[in-house]
């Protein structure tokens, strides 16, 4: 992400802080910065969410469309991800600078959702072998403040939670092509079961300890880390090692364990908040005005 220059003394300060379990802003090694979340912002999309994690600002929109399923998976719908790193996010994303990062995040999301434990794609099937729902998940990175993987995954989970898929009735004619009837009522929708959708936790290794939710300065001090996608039932669906440094197998195992525990906690709290938001009145929507 952003290239930050730090002096040797600043790096030493951060290192000792991590050892002491007191980071520059007072957090412990396993604390996240405050997250602000809102769903249902984009009225054109079937589902949307905006998540702010300190400086990082992510907007996700989900659109549903009918298409034919893959020949080898006739009973399943599919999810397609697209990440766009806006040039406003940080100067490095100017022109095509953000493409590499966008592709990386996109591919990691696809891998995390590939496991059967995360989302039940057969819920998206309309007519076996002929028609299914395709969910196009578009992620827009508006501002980059470190820890993009986590913010993106939480925003995608919230957007999918809020997605409303129109109900379809299949009217079969004898011998003819089956007809699909879309319900007239715009509120006659179904929702996905998003309990097990993975949350991603980034753990960066500094010295002998690892941190959750690193700031750009802390990322600069660290040489290696892992990105872990943890599903709702504490299972790990995807792992990626980032950074140019190396990791000892023992530290890798302990990082994975911590990552899955933190991921489970984040998951529970997020689901609780999303449930709370559903019960709110529509007039309390904030949008982009603040």
């Amino acid at each position: 992400m952003a290239e930050i220059l730090l002096s040797e003394a600043e790096k030493a300060f951060i290192h000792h802080g991590v050892q002491d379990d007191l980071r520059c802003d007072g957090r412990t090694r396993l604390d996240y910065r405050p997250i602000i979340l809102e769903t249902g912002l984009v009225s054109n999309a079937s589902g949307s969410a905006r998540l702010r994690l300190a400086n990082s600002d992510i907007l996700v929109g989900v659109k549903v469309e009918l298409a034919s399923p893959f020949p080898d998976k006739p009973k399943e719908g599919r999810l397609e991800f697209f990440v766009d790193c806006s040039a406003n996010a940080t100067p490095e994303f100017e022109g095509r600078g953000g493409e590499d990062l966008a592709n990386e995040i996109c591919r990691f999301l696809q891998r995390s959702y590939a496991s059967g434990d995360t989302i039940n794609l057969s819920e998206l099937s309309v007519l076996t072998g002929q028609q299914c729902w395709v969910l196009y998940v578009d992620i827009l990175i508006l501002e980059c403040g470190g820890n993009l993987y986590d913010a993106v995954s939480l925003a995608v989970k919230s957007a999918l939670y809020a997605t409303q898929i129109p109900s379809i009735k299949v009217a079969t004619m004898d011998g003819d092509q089956p007809e699909l009837e879309l319900s007239d009522d715009p509120y006659d929708t179904k929702r996905l079961n998003t309990e097990n959708i993975p949350c991603v936790v980034t753990l960066m290794k500094i010295g002998n300890h690892y941190l959750v939710d690193p700031t750009p300065e802390e990322e600069c001090c660290s040489s290696s880390g892992i990105v872990v996608a943890v599903s709702g039932n504490k299972k790990i669906t995807a792992v990626r090692k980032i950074g140019s440094g190396s990791l000892h197998p023992d530290s890798l195992v302990s990082m994975l364990k911590t990552g899955s525990e933190v991921g489970a906690v984040v998951n529970t709290i997020l689901m609780k908040k999303l449930l709370e938001e559903e019960t709110l009145e529509v007039s309390l929507k904030v949008g982009f005005m603040r």
Binding site: L5, D20, P34, L280
Partner: protein, 292 residues
């Protein structure tokens, strides 16, 4: 461990301004005056004999000159300002520093003190040894000596209080929030020192007992836990004040620090949006009480 809030739960940030005198705030394109006879300053433009503002800021009037001082802009240097800069480049006989200005500021080799306080002409060996003193990424506190024709600032560290900065925490705020004071170096009673650069860079570090060799030797020992807590708390207080667009100077920072300690907030709680607003309101109340 994790704090997730809904956007509707976050209290709106009303600018907690010093209610000393009413300010003439303008936005880009708003009319300042229809009267003629005024000279146009920075941040304004003339259209159809009327004066409009081109930036969002405060209107300033000096006799017949009207200008608009923007609320958020790049640092505009004045001679004598204390700034904190980060070295971006080591060139021939000079260092280029990033000071949040429109151009990189210049620190000439002849404007720094040699180790041991020698006074002599800089030789070719000094030029080759430049990187041993300051290399890319180092932080320096300096004073503006001169302004070049193109607007770049020329800095100097010709005093024992300026020089390379050691361990600590840097915060970037808008330059317009830093008040011009007699001294920008403060040793706060809570156990940390703070340098408020006019360019918006605020540096918080543990109090140095010995002034050292003018910043040539860097102290890389572990900072004690109590000092580290003070530094983190100050960092969060400064960020909270900047978020609420309050002026940052030693008194306001100490008020915010004391308010956060008296209210029993944990250091990491000061990152939450409602605590930030509470701190700003407590500081404002403290100022109002002091006036009475």
């Amino acid at each position: 461990m994790v704090d997730i809030r809904l956007a509707s739960e976050v209290p709106p940030f009303h600018i907690v301004a010093d209610s000393t005198e009413p300010k003439h705030l303008v936005t880009p394109g708003s009319l300042i005056t229809k009267e003629t006879g005024f000279m146009r300053g920075h941040g304004t433009y003339m259209q159809d004999d009327c004066l409009y503002s081109s930036v969002a800021g405060v209107v300033e009037r000096v006799n017949q000159l009207i200008s608009v001082r923007p609320l958020k802009s790049r640092y505009h240097g004045e001679i004598g300002d204390v700034v904190i800069g980060r070295v971006t480049e080591v060139s021939q006989k000079r260092w280029k520093l990033d000071t949040n200005a429109r151009l990189d500021s210049v620190l000439l080799l002849q404007s720094v003190n040699l180790p041991g306080g020698e006074l002599r002409r800089r030789s070719a060996e000094d030029e080759l040894a430049m990187r041993q003193y300051l290399k890319e990424g180092d932080l320096v506190s300096a004073e503006v000596q001169n302004i070049f024709n193109d607007g770049a600032l020329s800095l100097h560290t010709r005093s024992m209080k300026y020089g390379k900065l050691s361990q600590g925490c840097l915060i970037k705020v808008s330059p317009s929030l830093i008040r011009r004071q007699k001294t920008h170096f403060h040793n706060l009673p809570c156990g940390a020192s703070i340098i408020m650069g006019n360019n918006g860079f605020v540096w918080i570090c543990p109090t140095l007992l010995d002034d050292g060799a003018g910043g040539f030797v860097q102290n890389l020992e572990t900072v004690p836990h109590a000092d580290r807590q003070a530094i983190s708390r100050l960092r969060n207080c400064v960020t909270a004040l900047a978020h609420c667009k309050m002026m940052i100077y030693d008194t306001s920072i100490m008020h915010a620090y004391d308010a956060s300690v008296n209210a029993g907030f944990e250091i990491k709680d000061l990152l939450l949006p409602d605590k930030i607003k509470e701190i700003a309101l407590m500081v404002r109340k403290q100022f109002e009480m002091e006036k009475e």
